[in-house]
């Protein structure tokens, strides 16, 4: 029997995980739930998060001795894919993937936090971007040193899960100039700390995003993850894990949008014919399916590489994110167009897919960011 973890096929365990996730999410978090939350002005659903914790999803990347399920990055991607299919909104990426991957590298300092994440008690936001594009090195938010203490001042412009998360992973500048890759430090602080103002943003995907304003927020050396001035290194495992899982979410989203569209093509009649019988639409649907198939390989590969050789995963992760951003864009564009007028209405679900795809394309690096990494890795 071939060892499937060496291939891009799902193992038996992974097939079971996928089926279980799909079944649970169809009941607990259909697109209708996102709509209801949006209409109620609610961006985070604590009850859903508690159920995810119960199933071990919050601990998917957390060691068993910290109460996690430790299923690995491929499994984390499969969960993200299934969440993407139905647009399940939760702090899963920020907390269970990104924060867990960062804290896992933080030695004893991270143990308590990991236990709290696995138990579903702690949620995290990653505060990185200060401008409109993903650029950690451009960080200007200042951490001014006063003895063993720091004062944090500056603005994080786009922080996913930033208005509801209990804790914030924050990249701040402890030395050097914006643009320097050195001189950045990663802090782990309580979101309620004095001087931290959180302004919820009303974003197109109806999820929790916030602008975080730091006005002399107090921090100490105990709040630092990794080493002083070495924040990018401490952040890398989290960012890469997050990029891979976000790519998986986007690909699941593409699959979900394609499935809804295919269903519509098989049922909608115009000119006395099912529109899915028109070859022009068949070819577009077939092309979209092909693109999704090809992207799914990049997603599976990123998970496998992160599990096997995490220090050598940059190419695999960027390939996944670059492909996923484009595939999701194609899927939602084709979905709305093939639906026609009804696809433009808020009453129909497909628009939610388009909006989330746009947000996902930007977060943690857009297509151009990742294509440049791939080009560099491939020698040009």
């Amino acid at each position: 029997m071939k060892d499937l973890t060496q291939s891009l096929l799902d193992t038996e365990d992974e097939v079971m995980l996928r089926d279980a996730a799909r079944g649970f999410l169809a009941d607990a978090s259909p697109v209708a739930a996102l709509r209801a939350n949006r209409d109620a002005g609610r961006a985070h659903d604590p009850a859903l998060w508690a159920e995810m914790a119960q199933m071990g999803w919050t601990g998917v990347l957390i060691p068993e001795d910290a109460g996690g399920a430790d299923m690995g990055h491929r499994a984390a991607g499969i969960l993200a894919e299934e969440m993407g299919r139905v647009l399940a909104a939760s702090p899963y990426l920020s907390t269970a993937v990104i924060a867990a991957s960062v804290l896992r590298q933080a030695g004893p300092r991270g143990m308590g936090a990991l236990q709290a994440i696995a138990a579903g008690e702690a949620t995290y936001a990653l505060a990185l971007d200060e401008g409109p594009k993903f650029a950690p090195a451009a960080t200007a938010l200042k951490a001014e040193r006063q003895g063993n203490a720091f004062r944090l001042s500056g603005v994080k412009a786009f922080v996913p899960d930033g208005s509801t998360a209990g804790r914030v992973l924050l990249l701040a500048r402890t030395s050097g100039m914006p643009g320097d890759t050195e001189g950045l430090t990663l802090f782990d602080i309580d979101a309620d700390r004095a001087g931290l103002q959180r302004q919820a943003l009303s974003t197109i995907d109806s999820r929790d995003h916030a602008r975080l304003v730091f006005d002399g927020v107090a921090a100490t050396g105990d709040d630092i993850i990794g080493d002083l001035d070495a924040g990018l290194a401490a952040l890398r495992p989290g960012v890469q894990a997050g990029q891979a899982a976000l790519a998986a979410e986007l690909t699941g989203l593409a699959g979900g949008a394609a499935a809804i569209t295919l269903g519509y093509l098989k049922e909608r009649k115009q000119f006395d014919r099912t529109i899915g019988s028109f070859q022009a639409l068949q070819h577009r649907a077939a092309h979209l399916w092909s693109e999704i198939e090809v992207t799914l390989s990049a997603i599976a590969n990123a998970g496998r590489v992160l599990d096997a050789t995490p220090d050598d995963a940059a190419l695999a992760v960027s390939l996944a994110k670059a492909r996923a951003a484009q595939t999701a864009k194609l899927a939602v564009s084709e979905a709305v167009q093939m639906h026609g007028g009804i696809g433009m209405t808020d009453a129909y679900d497909i628009g939610f897919f388009m909006k989330r795809a746009r947000v996902g394309a930007e977060w943690l690096g857009d297509y151009g960011h990742h294509a440049a990494i791939i080009a560099a890795a491939r020698g040009f």
């Binding site: 291939s7 891009l8 096929l9 019988s277 068949q282 070819h283 399916w289 294509a371 791939i374 040009f380």
Partner: protein, 392 residues
């Protein structure tokens, strides 16, 4: 290690040693251009003695047809063993001792559909490189609509009488035998009146004419059949069920053409090739963006070929999804050659200039998405069979 793993490791060591011991050193790592390919056949002339020696030794070990049964001249290898054999051949740099349509297409068809006499008559001569086969499928009126075969075979009691014309018959002018689709029932629905017939090219009434392409000389021919008498025993499978065999073989062909796309640039990335060209063409932001996109897509496509291969090896068929490999791989290959031409600029415009051979290769890639089923037919297959979209 399990017993099976141990046995495979032992096989790898054994086959690796055999290849190293038997493949003449002069053949190792030689570029695989047309002159390096051994096609075999009645009129074959070897480029040198090394080629002949390598073929003879491979035949003696059954390795011209690794997976075929030993009784027909194969080596009887398992799928896993064959994979190891090919890996070791590639690692050592040994060329395939023999290539042919007999090995790729007719053999698999006979093994699946042929009767014992046909297998005994034809398979050994294929494995020994004695008979070179060509494939007679397409006709002037049967391209994408392959089942619209008009070449007819009439039952004359003691023989078939064949009349008609084939087109795009690769190497028909050099082949010894042809396997062809012929119409044996003109009243039946078009898929149901086709049979699969074997013909000796020396039979009176068969003539061939080479076709010149936009890319220059080509192996393609037109093949004409004028009152050709064919023995009754040369019909493979059941009368009027030849379409089943054709479909079986087309799946093979699609995987080969789509799969070939990744290897055409010798494993190098498009960016690496472009970066090595004079004048840093990648400084042009538009070409650079296109090259990046081609690279991203090629990397993801290569992973997908690996995934499908693993799926087939795990015993879960790929089925109609192979149409995607053919579609995506050939379209990708065309994009890459467009990029190579754009970056070569006027250096790429001569038939035999500084980028010798690039222009004809670029032109030839335009056929990739036509031969073996057009991209549009592949999309039809995906839409109808994979996505189960409604018919017209």
């Amino acid at each position: 290690m399990s017993d099976a793993t141990e046995a495979l490791a032992a096989f790898r060591a054994e086959i690796s040693a055999w290849i190293s011991d038997n493949c003449p050193a002069a053949l190792l790592g030689r570029p695989m251009d047309e002159s390096a390919i051994v096609w075999g056949g009645r009129n074959w002339t070897f480029a040198d003695d090394d080629q002949r020696l390598w073929l003879d030794r491979a035949i003696s070990r059954g390795l011209t047809a690794p997976r075929w049964p030993v009784e027909y001249g194969g080596a009887g290898l398992s799928r896993a063993q064959e994979k190891i054999y090919r890996e070791e051949m590639a690692r050592i740099g040994a060329p395939p001792p023999l290539e042919s349509f007999g090995l790729w297409m007719l053999g698999p068809a006979l093994l699946e559909f042929g009767n014992p006499a046909q297998k005994a008559e034809h398979l050994p001569s294929i494995t020994r490189g004695e008979i070179r086969w060509c494939q007679g499928y397409s006709e002037p009126g049967a391209g994408s609509d392959l089942a619209n075969v008009q070449t007819r075979a009439e039952d004359m009691g003691d023989h078939w009488l064949v009349n008609g014309q084939k087109i795009w018959t690769s190497y028909a002018d050099k082949a010894d035998w042809i396997f062809a689709l012929v119409r044996t029932d003109r009243d039946a629905p078009k898929h149901k009146g086709i049979s699969f017939l074997l013909m000796d090219m020396e039979t009176p009434g068969i003539t061939t004419r080479p076709i010149r392409l936009i890319s220059g000389k080509s192996p393609f021919c037109e093949t004409f059949f004028d009152n050709v008498k064919v023995p009754k025993k040369n019909l493979v499978g059941e009368l009027n069920r030849g379409w089943d065999i054709a479909k079986y073989l087309l799946t093979h062909e699609r995987e080969m053409i789509g799969g070939g796309a990744s290897g055409l640039l010798g494993g190098r990335s498009i960016g690496q090739i472009l970066a090595a060209q004079d004048g840093n063409v990648l400084a042009d932001p538009i070409l650079r963006a296109e090259a990046m996109q081609a690279e991203v897509d090629a990397l993801a496509f290569n992973l997908t070929m690996g995934r499908y291969k693993d799926q087939a090896e795990a015993g879960r068929g790929v089925g109609n999804a192979s149409a995607m490999l053919k579609y995506y791989g050939t379209e990708l290959n065309k994009r890459r050659y467009e990029l190579l031409m754009a970056t070569a600029g006027s250096d790429g415009l001569e038939w035999d200039g500084a980028h010798g051979g690039l222009a004809p290769e670029w032109l030839r890639t335009k056929a990739n998405s036509i031969e073996g089923g057009t991209s549009e037919v592949m999309l039809d297959i995906i839409a109808k069979r994979v996505l189960e979209m409604p018919g017209q």
